[in-house]
């Protein structure tokens, strides 16, 4: 064992300090983290003034966090780390509905609705008829599936971001399927919006020449007894940010055609089936 730190043996010296009886999983995770961070510093020959910038950046990111704002999650999202953890833990067979990021705007306890109801309470924006089926990989419909749906309003804000300007539970609802597994409801055609970009993460995106936008999407969480829960969005086909979602949430299979229809209330229709494992 080499007790003293040198540039060559740096990560080993740090990792050998962990006590043999420390939690094995913690040792594995921290050991790999230390090895990769040391390899990163060596690869770029990180300069003292860059190290100081990193300390300042992390400190400012911490200071930005409060009950309504989680700047470290934004950072993780914008570096693709959140999507990677999600991808690793939700590998599914071809044909099953893919996951994407949960996002910070889900609120538990949204009102239970009947099929055909409208989740837009202020009726602002263009209405869309969302419909489809919850089913198994073999096509069998799934009864008693609970579908949570939520979206921004026509200005790109969720109700919780505008508690004064929007009615509570605007653009949120929970639907339960019957024997045929089918669902149908009205909501607005969502619009693209920027993530909060007035903090350190927004500044970083700017320095990297990246925009802060997410393409328009409707959030879904679908759960049924005996099936793996799906947390996903459907994205509006044709949105100009589909290929540059700032949090990397888009998957090909989640892009959905929004077609213009003639309907007493809706001007759009979006069909999507949820396939559960």
């Amino acid at each position: 064992m080499s007790a003293y730190f040198t540039e060559q043996n740096s990560a080993n010296v740090v990792n050998e300090r962990m006590a043999p009886d420390a939690n094995p999983r913690l040792q594995h995770v921290m050991g790999a983290l230390v090895s990769h961070l040391h390899a990163f510093i060596k690869e770029v020959q990180l300069r003292p003034e860059e190290w100081e910038s990193a300390i300042r950046f992390l400190t400012e990111t911490g200071k930005m966090c409060n009950e309504e704002r989680q700047e470290f999650i934004l950072l993780s999202d914008c570096l693709g780390l959140s999507m990677l953890v999600d991808a690793i833990h939700h590998r599914r067979p071809t044909g099953a509905t893919e996951n994407t990021v949960f996002g910070p705007f889900f609120v538990a306890g949204a009102p239970e609705k009947n099929m055909g109801d409208c989740i837009s309470l202020d009726k602002k924006g263009e209405l869309c008829l969302y419909e489809g089926q919850v089913k198994e990989l073999n096509g069998q419909p799934i009864a008693n599936a609970r579908i949570h749906a939520w979206s921004d309003n026509d200005e790109g804000f969720y109700d919780v971001q505008q508690p004064e300007a929007q009615p509570k539970w605007n653009n949120r609802g929970v639907f339960t399927t019957g024997a045929d597994g089918r669902y149908q409801f009205l909501g607005i055609k969502p619009v693209s919006y920027p993530i909060p970009d007035d903090g350190p993460v927004g500044k970083l995106l700017q320095q990297l020449g990246r925009h802060p936008y997410r393409p328009a999407h409707m959030h879904f969480m679908v759960e049924a007894p005996g099936y793996e829960k799906v947390i996903t969005h459907t994205f509006v086909k044709g949105d100009s940010y589909l290929e540059s979602d700032t949090v990397f949430g888009v998957k090909q299979s989640l892009i959905v055609e929004f077609e213009e229809i003639e309907h007493e209330q809706a001007t759009w229709r979006s069909a999507f089936d949820f396939v559960l494992v």
Copy 2:
């Protein structure tokens, strides 16, 4: 170009988002950081609940930072990242005095002293005669070298940590060499002490089965016109934390014999030459 994120191409998709006209050094550093973080997550198959713990840990670390406390620097120190950046940027030929971490307790403006003066103002602790020479690699003495020295008190605290209990500038002084390059002063034989361990970093050390102690050391910063500045410590040979300094600051060449002597004031003597490049 693959626009959509997948587990396989994750880091590439993130890095391809950087604008071609973004600062090239920033692109290089962020590209490498993203690649290593993605490789880390894949290597350990980081679990969603572990990702949540990491977000909480970073947030708490940020909340702990204030004007007197920099918890992210402590984190960097305890993972060996600070020493690695220092090592990379202070490679010196054999025989030259090695650098080590600066530490958070240096204060600019300490009193100028004459050779032979004592920097311990409260005379607590065991006095030691520090002496030696500032010289070039070829042995030539360096005149007009400024030697900044600072240490903790006999209870392990720097004056700035105890503004009420210690006189201002206790255990701090600046000395300027004459033509012979020699220096001599009195200070206490320093003692080992724990880094502040009542925050998230202290908790992490505990979970890893690591103690928070630094071996006893006297801080030095030596500068002379035309030479590279040296920021270093001398460590007390025989200290029980030499092989487990929690910030990895110890280098073999910086461990110094403290020998017992008979002297009107001092009971110890520590000889060390500073060799500048």
